[in-house]
Subunit: 135 residues, 2 copies
Amino acid sequence: MNASNHTYRPEPLRMTNQRKGILEEVQKARQHLTADEVYELVRKKQPRISLSTVYRNLEKMADAGILARLELSGNQRRYDWNTDMHHHARCVRCGAVRDVPVDAGVELDLGSQAINGFAVSGFRLEFKGICEKCR
Amino acid sequence: MNASNHTYRPEPLRMTNQRKGILEEVQKARQHLTADEVYELVRKKQPRISLSTVYRNLEKMADAGILARLELSGNQRRYDWNTDMHHHARCVRCGAVRDVPVDAGVELDLGSQAINGFAVSGFRLEFKGICEKCR
DNA sequence: AATAATAATAGTAATTATTCCTAAAAGTCA
DNA sequence: TGACTTTTAGGAATAATTACTATTATTATT
Ligand SMILES: [Mn+2]
Ligand SMILES: [Mn+2]
Ligand SMILES: [Zn+2]
Ligand SMILES: [Zn+2]
Protein backbone atom coordinates (compact mmCIF):
# COMPACT_ATOMS: atom_id res chain seq x y z
CA MET A 1 0.00 0.00 0.00
CA ASN A 2 0.96 3.63 -0.45
CA ALA A 3 3.55 2.77 -3.07
CA SER A 4 4.64 5.61 -5.28
CA ASN A 5 2.63 5.56 -8.49
CA HIS A 6 5.15 7.04 -10.84
CA THR A 7 8.21 5.12 -11.85
CA TYR A 8 11.51 6.17 -10.42
CA ARG A 9 14.12 7.31 -12.83
CA PRO A 10 17.14 6.36 -10.79
CA GLU A 11 19.18 9.49 -11.55
CA PRO A 12 22.25 8.11 -13.22
CA LEU A 13 25.46 9.04 -11.44
CA ARG A 14 28.33 8.98 -13.87
CA MET A 15 31.54 8.08 -12.16
CA THR A 16 33.70 10.78 -13.62
CA ASN A 17 37.37 11.28 -12.82
CA GLN A 18 36.57 14.25 -10.65
CA ARG A 19 33.98 12.34 -8.71
CA LYS A 20 36.28 9.41 -8.25
CA GLY A 21 39.08 11.65 -7.02
CA ILE A 22 36.83 13.42 -4.54
CA LEU A 23 35.41 10.21 -3.14
CA GLU A 24 38.84 8.67 -2.89
CA GLU A 25 40.24 11.51 -0.82
CA VAL A 26 37.25 11.59 1.52
CA GLN A 27 37.47 7.86 2.09
CA LYS A 28 41.17 7.61 2.60
CA ALA A 29 41.49 10.71 4.78
CA ARG A 30 39.37 9.08 7.46
CA GLN A 31 38.69 12.50 8.83
CA HIS A 32 35.78 14.87 8.68
CA LEU A 33 36.80 17.11 5.84
CA THR A 34 35.38 20.38 4.65
CA ALA A 35 34.75 21.02 0.98
CA ASP A 36 37.76 23.26 0.91
CA GLU A 37 40.02 20.64 2.41
CA VAL A 38 38.83 18.09 -0.13
CA TYR A 39 39.50 20.60 -2.87
CA GLU A 40 43.09 21.07 -1.76
CA LEU A 41 43.65 17.33 -1.65
CA VAL A 42 42.12 16.52 -5.02
CA ARG A 43 43.94 19.45 -6.61
CA LYS A 44 47.25 17.72 -6.12
CA LYS A 45 46.19 15.00 -8.56
CA GLN A 46 43.76 16.96 -10.68
CA PRO A 47 45.08 20.52 -10.75
CA ARG A 48 42.33 21.70 -13.07
CA ILE A 49 39.38 20.65 -10.94
CA SER A 50 37.22 23.52 -9.79
CA LEU A 51 35.98 24.26 -6.32
CA SER A 52 32.38 24.27 -7.42
CA THR A 53 32.79 20.77 -8.80
CA VAL A 54 33.93 19.67 -5.38
CA TYR A 55 30.99 21.32 -3.68
CA ARG A 56 28.50 19.96 -6.17
CA ASN A 57 29.77 16.42 -6.00
CA LEU A 58 30.11 16.22 -2.26
CA GLU A 59 26.45 17.19 -2.10
CA LYS A 60 25.45 14.72 -4.80
CA MET A 61 27.30 11.86 -3.21
CA ALA A 62 25.91 12.71 0.17
CA ASP A 63 22.42 12.62 -1.35
CA ALA A 64 23.25 9.27 -2.88
CA GLY A 65 24.44 7.93 0.47
CA ILE A 66 27.97 7.27 -0.75
CA LEU A 67 29.25 9.54 1.95
CA ALA A 68 27.65 11.38 4.84
CA ARG A 69 26.98 14.99 5.46
CA LEU A 70 28.25 15.84 8.88
CA GLU A 71 26.15 18.48 10.49
CA LEU A 72 27.78 20.23 13.37
CA SER A 73 26.70 23.40 15.03
CA GLY A 74 27.72 26.71 13.63
CA ASN A 75 30.55 25.53 11.46
CA GLN A 76 31.74 24.89 8.01
CA ARG A 77 30.01 21.83 6.66
CA ARG A 78 32.01 18.63 6.92
CA TYR A 79 31.74 15.31 5.19
CA ASP A 80 32.17 11.88 6.67
CA TRP A 81 33.48 8.75 5.02
CA ASN A 82 31.58 6.75 7.58
CA THR A 83 27.92 6.46 6.68
CA ASP A 84 27.05 4.27 9.63
CA MET A 85 25.13 5.73 12.52
CA HIS A 86 27.49 7.27 15.03
CA HIS A 87 27.92 10.43 17.05
CA HIS A 88 30.58 13.07 17.27
CA ALA A 89 32.49 14.98 19.88
CA ARG A 90 34.00 18.34 19.27
CA CYS A 91 36.86 19.91 21.16
CA VAL A 92 35.94 23.42 22.24
CA ARG A 93 39.59 24.45 22.24
CA CYS A 94 40.97 23.25 18.92
CA GLY A 95 37.78 22.33 17.07
CA ALA A 96 38.81 18.73 16.43
CA VAL A 97 35.97 16.37 15.67
CA ARG A 98 36.07 12.79 16.91
CA ASP A 99 33.80 9.86 16.29
CA VAL A 100 31.77 8.49 19.15
CA PRO A 101 30.35 4.99 18.80
CA VAL A 102 26.62 4.77 19.35
CA ASP A 103 26.92 2.74 22.51
CA ALA A 104 29.53 4.79 24.34
CA GLY A 105 27.68 5.70 27.51
CA VAL A 106 24.73 6.81 25.49
CA GLU A 107 21.29 5.39 25.87
CA LEU A 108 18.58 7.17 24.05
CA ASP A 109 15.00 5.99 24.35
CA LEU A 110 13.17 6.79 21.17
CA GLY A 111 10.36 4.40 22.05
CA SER A 112 8.02 7.31 22.62
CA GLN A 113 8.13 8.30 18.99
CA ALA A 114 5.91 11.30 19.46
CA ILE A 115 7.53 14.20 21.24
CA ASN A 116 5.28 17.22 21.53
CA GLY A 117 3.24 16.19 18.51
CA PHE A 118 6.38 15.63 16.49
CA ALA A 119 6.78 12.39 14.59
CA VAL A 120 10.41 11.85 15.40
CA SER A 121 12.41 10.04 12.76
CA GLY A 122 15.90 10.57 14.04
CA PHE A 123 18.23 12.58 16.17
CA ARG A 124 21.67 14.02 16.23
CA LEU A 125 23.90 13.99 19.24
CA GLU A 126 26.97 16.14 19.55
CA PHE A 127 29.26 16.11 22.52
CA LYS A 128 31.50 18.94 23.44
CA GLY A 129 34.57 18.76 25.59
CA ILE A 130 38.32 18.95 25.54
CA CYS A 131 40.44 16.50 23.62
CA GLU A 132 43.56 14.86 25.03
CA LYS A 133 45.91 17.11 23.08
CA CYS A 134 44.38 20.23 24.53
CA ARG A 135 44.65 19.33 28.20
CA MET B 1 39.90 25.30 45.25
CA ASN B 2 40.93 26.04 41.75
CA ALA B 3 39.49 29.53 41.89
CA SER B 4 40.65 31.98 39.28
CA ASN B 5 43.48 34.08 40.68
CA HIS B 6 42.85 37.33 38.89
CA THR B 7 39.87 39.45 39.79
CA TYR B 8 36.96 39.50 37.42
CA ARG B 9 36.05 42.85 36.03
CA PRO B 10 32.39 42.16 35.44
CA GLU B 11 32.21 43.78 31.99
CA PRO B 12 29.62 46.48 32.41
CA LEU B 13 26.64 45.98 30.16
CA ARG B 14 24.85 49.23 29.63
CA MET B 15 21.19 48.68 29.05
CA THR B 16 20.79 50.87 26.03
CA ASN B 17 17.55 51.38 24.16
CA GLN B 18 18.74 49.18 21.35
CA ARG B 19 19.70 46.41 23.70
CA LYS B 20 16.41 46.66 25.55
CA GLY B 21 14.46 46.53 22.30
CA ILE B 22 16.35 43.49 21.06
CA LEU B 23 15.96 41.58 24.30
CA GLU B 24 12.31 42.48 24.50
CA GLU B 25 11.55 41.10 21.08
CA VAL B 26 13.48 37.89 21.66
CA GLN B 27 11.72 37.29 24.93
CA LYS B 28 8.22 38.07 23.83
CA ALA B 29 8.43 36.25 20.52
CA ARG B 30 8.89 32.95 22.34
CA GLN B 31 10.34 31.55 19.19
CA HIS B 32 13.83 30.78 18.04
CA LEU B 33 14.62 33.88 16.06
CA THR B 34 17.48 34.62 13.72
CA ALA B 35 19.39 37.89 13.90
CA ASP B 36 17.62 39.04 10.80
CA GLU B 37 14.21 38.30 12.21
CA VAL B 38 15.05 40.19 15.37
CA TYR B 39 16.24 43.09 13.26
CA GLU B 40 12.95 43.28 11.39
CA LEU B 41 10.99 43.24 14.65
CA VAL B 42 13.05 45.87 16.44
CA ARG B 43 13.05 48.07 13.37
CA LYS B 44 9.34 48.68 13.75
CA LYS B 45 9.97 50.51 17.00
CA GLN B 46 13.49 51.75 16.36
CA PRO B 47 13.68 52.38 12.64
CA ARG B 48 17.25 53.67 12.84
CA ILE B 49 18.78 50.63 14.52
CA SER B 50 21.42 48.92 12.45
CA LEU B 51 21.75 45.26 11.62
CA SER B 52 25.24 45.06 13.02
CA THR B 53 23.97 46.40 16.34
CA VAL B 54 21.52 43.54 16.42
CA TYR B 55 24.21 40.98 15.65
CA ARG B 56 26.63 42.45 18.16
CA ASN B 57 24.12 42.60 20.96
CA LEU B 58 22.63 39.19 20.43
CA GLU B 59 26.14 37.81 20.76
CA LYS B 60 26.91 39.93 23.83
CA MET B 61 23.72 38.97 25.55
CA ALA B 62 24.24 35.34 24.72
CA ASP B 63 27.72 35.59 26.26
CA ALA B 64 26.22 37.20 29.30
CA GLY B 65 23.66 34.41 29.61
CA ILE B 66 20.68 36.73 29.23
CA LEU B 67 19.60 34.71 26.24
CA ALA B 68 20.82 31.52 24.62
CA ARG B 69 22.56 30.82 21.41
CA LEU B 70 20.70 28.08 19.62
CA GLU B 71 23.00 25.92 17.60
CA LEU B 72 21.29 23.85 14.99
CA SER B 73 22.86 22.01 12.15
CA GLY B 74 23.64 23.81 8.96
CA ASN B 75 21.44 26.80 9.46
CA GLN B 76 21.29 30.41 10.21
CA ARG B 77 22.07 30.96 13.86
CA ARG B 78 19.06 31.29 16.10
CA TYR B 79 18.59 32.71 19.54
CA ASP B 80 16.50 31.36 22.36
CA TRP B 81 14.71 33.28 25.07
CA ASN B 82 14.85 30.15 27.19
CA THR B 83 18.25 29.74 28.80
CA ASP B 84 17.33 26.57 30.68
CA MET B 85 18.69 23.27 29.51
CA HIS B 86 16.41 21.75 26.92
CA HIS B 87 16.54 20.10 23.54
CA HIS B 88 15.06 20.89 20.18
CA ALA B 89 13.23 19.16 17.39
CA ARG B 90 13.29 20.36 13.84
CA CYS B 91 10.71 19.62 11.19
CA VAL B 92 12.41 18.39 8.06
CA ARG B 93 9.54 19.68 5.91
CA CYS B 94 8.97 23.24 7.07
CA GLY B 95 12.03 23.85 9.20
CA ALA B 96 10.06 24.71 12.34
CA VAL B 97 11.96 24.36 15.59
CA ARG B 98 10.23 23.13 18.72
CA ASP B 99 11.38 22.84 22.28
CA VAL B 100 11.80 19.41 23.77
CA PRO B 101 11.91 19.11 27.56
CA VAL B 102 14.93 17.31 28.89
CA ASP B 103 12.95 14.38 30.22
CA ALA B 104 10.82 13.63 27.17
CA GLY B 105 11.80 10.08 26.44
CA VAL B 106 15.43 10.97 26.63
CA GLU B 107 17.86 9.37 28.97
CA LEU B 108 21.46 10.19 28.43
CA ASP B 109 24.10 8.64 30.61
CA LEU B 110 27.02 11.01 30.94
CA GLY B 111 28.38 9.14 33.94
CA SER B 112 31.26 7.90 31.86
CA GLN B 113 32.68 11.36 31.44
CA ALA B 114 35.51 10.24 29.23
CA ILE B 115 34.53 9.25 25.74
CA ASN B 116 37.48 8.27 23.59
CA GLY B 117 39.92 10.35 25.61
CA PHE B 118 37.59 13.32 25.48
CA ALA B 119 36.74 15.14 28.69
CA VAL B 120 33.08 15.64 27.92
CA SER B 121 31.54 18.75 29.39
CA GLY B 122 28.23 18.80 27.60
CA PHE B 123 26.19 17.67 24.68
CA ARG B 124 23.62 18.86 22.25
CA LEU B 125 20.70 16.79 21.15
CA GLU B 126 18.63 17.62 18.14
CA PHE B 127 15.65 15.61 16.99
CA LYS B 128 14.37 15.60 13.50
CA GLY B 129 10.94 14.65 12.37
CA ILE B 130 7.71 16.01 10.99
CA CYS B 131 5.57 18.45 12.88
CA GLU B 132 1.80 18.17 13.20
CA LYS B 133 1.12 20.87 10.63
CA CYS B 134 3.11 19.05 7.98
CA ARG B 135 1.39 15.68 8.21
C1' DA C 1 30.16 5.63 -36.88
C1' DA C 2 27.40 9.72 -36.89
C1' DT C 3 23.95 12.14 -34.43
C1' DA C 4 21.15 13.55 -30.78
C1' DA C 5 20.24 13.95 -25.97
C1' DT C 6 21.82 14.29 -21.40
C1' DA C 7 25.01 15.16 -17.66
C1' DA C 8 29.01 17.18 -15.86
C1' DT C 9 32.58 20.47 -15.97
C1' DA C 10 35.55 24.88 -15.23
C1' DG C 11 35.43 29.36 -14.22
C1' DT C 12 33.22 33.02 -12.45
C1' DA C 13 29.52 35.85 -10.54
C1' DA C 14 26.10 36.27 -7.09
C1' DT C 15 24.17 35.45 -2.65
C1' DT C 16 23.95 34.97 2.28
C1' DA C 17 25.32 35.26 6.84
C1' DT C 18 28.37 37.24 9.66
C1' DT C 19 32.16 40.06 11.27
C1' DC C 20 35.08 44.07 11.08
C1' DC C 21 36.06 49.06 10.81
C1' DT C 22 35.51 53.89 11.93
C1' DA C 23 33.94 58.28 13.11
C1' DA C 24 30.28 60.06 15.80
C1' DA C 25 27.13 59.84 19.73
C1' DA C 26 25.93 58.63 24.34
C1' DG C 27 26.76 57.22 28.99
C1' DT C 28 29.72 57.31 33.36
C1' DC C 29 31.96 59.43 36.87
C1' DA C 30 35.45 62.32 39.35
C1' DT D 1 32.45 70.33 33.05
C1' DG D 2 35.61 67.40 30.92
C1' DA D 3 38.03 63.00 30.46
C1' DC D 4 37.18 58.45 29.64
C1' DT D 5 34.68 54.41 28.11
C1' DT D 6 31.15 52.11 25.66
C1' DT D 7 28.04 51.84 22.09
C1' DT D 8 26.21 53.06 17.89
C1' DA D 9 25.11 53.48 12.67
C1' DG D 10 26.49 52.58 8.41
C1' DG D 11 29.13 50.54 5.37
C1' DA D 12 33.04 47.57 3.85
C1' DA D 13 35.11 43.14 4.12
C1' DT D 14 35.14 38.21 4.60
C1' DA D 15 33.82 33.48 4.21
C1' DA D 16 31.05 29.79 2.81
C1' DT D 17 28.05 28.29 -0.41
C1' DT D 18 25.17 28.35 -4.50
C1' DA D 19 23.85 29.79 -9.17
C1' DC D 20 24.96 30.70 -13.95
C1' DT D 21 26.79 29.62 -18.49
C1' DA D 22 29.32 28.24 -22.26
C1' DT D 23 32.01 24.19 -23.20
C1' DT D 24 33.22 19.35 -22.87
C1' DA D 25 32.32 14.54 -21.92
C1' DT D 26 29.42 10.62 -21.67
C1' DT D 27 25.58 7.78 -23.03
C1' DA D 28 21.80 6.50 -26.05
C1' DT D 29 19.77 6.15 -30.64
C1' DT D 30 19.73 5.76 -35.44
MN1 LIG E 1 32.15 10.50 11.85
MN1 LIG F 1 14.44 26.44 22.85
ZN1 LIG G 1 41.52 19.88 21.17
ZN1 LIG H 1 6.62 21.19 9.70
